[in-house]
């Protein structure tokens, strides 16, 4: 029995043209038994950063609260919101603190970074459960359906997708991947982050 697969769940993030998307399934299970079809594992960090925490259910909450603590302290001391890349390093160092007794979570980060010219630059990253950062330029995946997500994303993703097309791409990648994973599924949630708004949609999925 793998702890990483005890509760199930998967997350994917993708880069588009001046936008990013992050999506997850909604299942919480205990091995083969399904417990919840509304388990949120993606959290807003700031107005333009989201973090997805697939892995052990109890660590999803604990780790998110730890991140919130540290981000709040950063915000109140620094008197500004944290940048996505800074947050990625915060995630990484927080996980590495527990190098020999880790949280069983593989975080996925999606956000828009500010550029000096006042624009935004899409940012995604993922880490393993001890904080090894992966700054990908196209997409990152994690969770029990990760191999299926890799296959889907590798087949569907293309550069410079507009927000609506990015939404369709990430949704199809996620839905078809989790349909082939017994530990993921039971509905999905998708967040598309653009310069001036965040669109969140909940998707119906197969309930088997």
């Amino acid at each position: 029995m793998s702890i990483m697969e005890l509760n199930g769940g998967s997350v994917i993030a993708m880069v588009g043209k001046d936008c990013v998307a992050i999506a997850s399934d909604l299942r919480l299970g205990n091995q083969a038994l399904g417990l919840s079809s509304n388990f949120q594992r993606i959290f807003p960090v700031t107005d333009r950063i989201y973090v997805g925490l697939p892995g052990l259910g109890t660590d999803v909450h604990t780790l998110w609260e730890k991140f919130r603590f540290r981000v709040n302290m950063y915000t109140i001391k620094e008197e500004r919101e944290i940048e996505p890349e800074t947050f990625a390093h915060l995630v990484s160092s927080t996980l590495y603190e527990h190098r020999f007794g880790p949280y069983f979570i593989e975080p996925v980060i999606a956000g828009l970074a500010k550029t000096p010219s006042g624009g935004v630059k899409p940012f995604i990253a993922a880490t393993d459960l001890i904080g090894c950062l992966n700054f990908a330029k196209d997409f990152v995946v994690a969770g029990t359906a990760s191999s299926k997500l890799f296959g889907m994303a590798e087949g569907l993703w293309e550069p410079d997708l507009e927000p609506e097309d990015l939404f369709e791409t990430i949704s199809q990648a996620l839905m078809n991947a989790v349909d082939r994973d017994a530990y993921s599924g039971w509905g999905c949630v998708v967040h598309v982050i653009t310069k001036d708004k965040i669109v969140t949609r909940t998707l119906k999925g197969r309930m088997d």
Partner: protein, 263 residues
């Protein structure tokens, strides 16, 4: 005689006094005034800035951040604003402690820390320095303007001994006696924030040493409840906003040229 007792914080004098604490409080009564008024629908804080001068770099206070120039008024948590009087260095340490304590509470209970509990956390720390040897007490008094769902809006004061108390309106720092008697006369139980703002500014203008009132000598903050989210909304005013507020309250320092023209 007193020499024997006042150099140690943890030793009582024969009269049962802790001189170091009293000296700390004395130091604070010369510090910049901090004034708070509890209203029905919010809390108002104002503070007198001591470190001024045209060579002081205030560029970072003009925009960004939460407002304020970071000398007297600090955001301690989403639901609490703190006003400090005394040693600035000590205050920074306490502010940091308060912020961490508030976040620790949020981590444990997933709710904003109650205002009184936050005051207690700081007082426990401050009290420790009156009892354990080798260290001096924090030379800081604080006002806490806060909100929690149980007791709604609250205003607390804590001093270097670790004492704390709740107030409808109070003042710490220089001329706090004058300010408090003024507040006593003018405070009404059902006062609203919009009137409390006026009360605070008028009291400040009467207590402060300087004759003129402007953003270079004043920090100002209001804690209210956001109508839509029902969450506390802390607003620390930026210098430009303070000047605008003073103008609208008719307390702006007089520009002599315009006065001449008007005459």
């Amino acid at each position: 005689m007193a020499r024997r007792y006042d150099s140690r914080t943890t030793i009582f004098s024969p009269e049962g006094r802790l001189y170091q604490i009293e000296y700390a409080m004395e130091a604070i009564s010369h510090a910049g005034t901090v004034l708070g008024v509890l209203a029905k629908d919010g809390v108002v804080l104002a503070a007198e800035k001591k470190v001024t001068g045209k060579l002081l770099d205030l560029s970072s206070t003009k925009e960004g951040g939460y407002g304020g120039s970071g000398e007297k008024i600090y955001l301690l948590n989403d639901n609490v604003i703190g006003g400090v009087a005394g040693l600035t260095a000590d205050a920074n340490s306490l502010v940091n402690y308060a912020r961490t304590a508030a976040q620790r509470h949020l981590l444990t209970y997933n709710e904003d820390i109650p205002v009184e509990l936050l005051a207690q956390r700081l007082c426990n720390l401050k009290q420790g320095y009156t009892q354990f040897g080798g260290l001096r007490p924090f030379g800081v008094s604080l006002l806490y303007a806060g909100y929690d769902p149980h007791y709604q809006f609250q205003l607390y004061h804590s001093d270097p001994s670790g004492n704390y108390s709740g107030w409808k309106a109070t003042c710490i720092g220089a001329n706090n006696g004058t300010a408090q008697s003024l507040l006593k006369q003018e405070y009404k139980d059902d006062i609203e924030v919009k009137d409390a703002i006026g009360l605070v500014l008028r009291t400040m203008s009467k207590t402060m040493d300087s004759t003129t009132l402007g953003s270079e000598k004043l920090e100002f903050a209001v804690l209210t409840l956001d109508e839509t989210t029902k969450r506390p909304k802390a607003k620390i005013y930026k210098p430009s906003e303070i000047d605008a507020l003073l103008a609208s309250e008719g307390l702006m320092k007089k520009d002599e040229d315009t006065e001449m023209k008007a005459a």
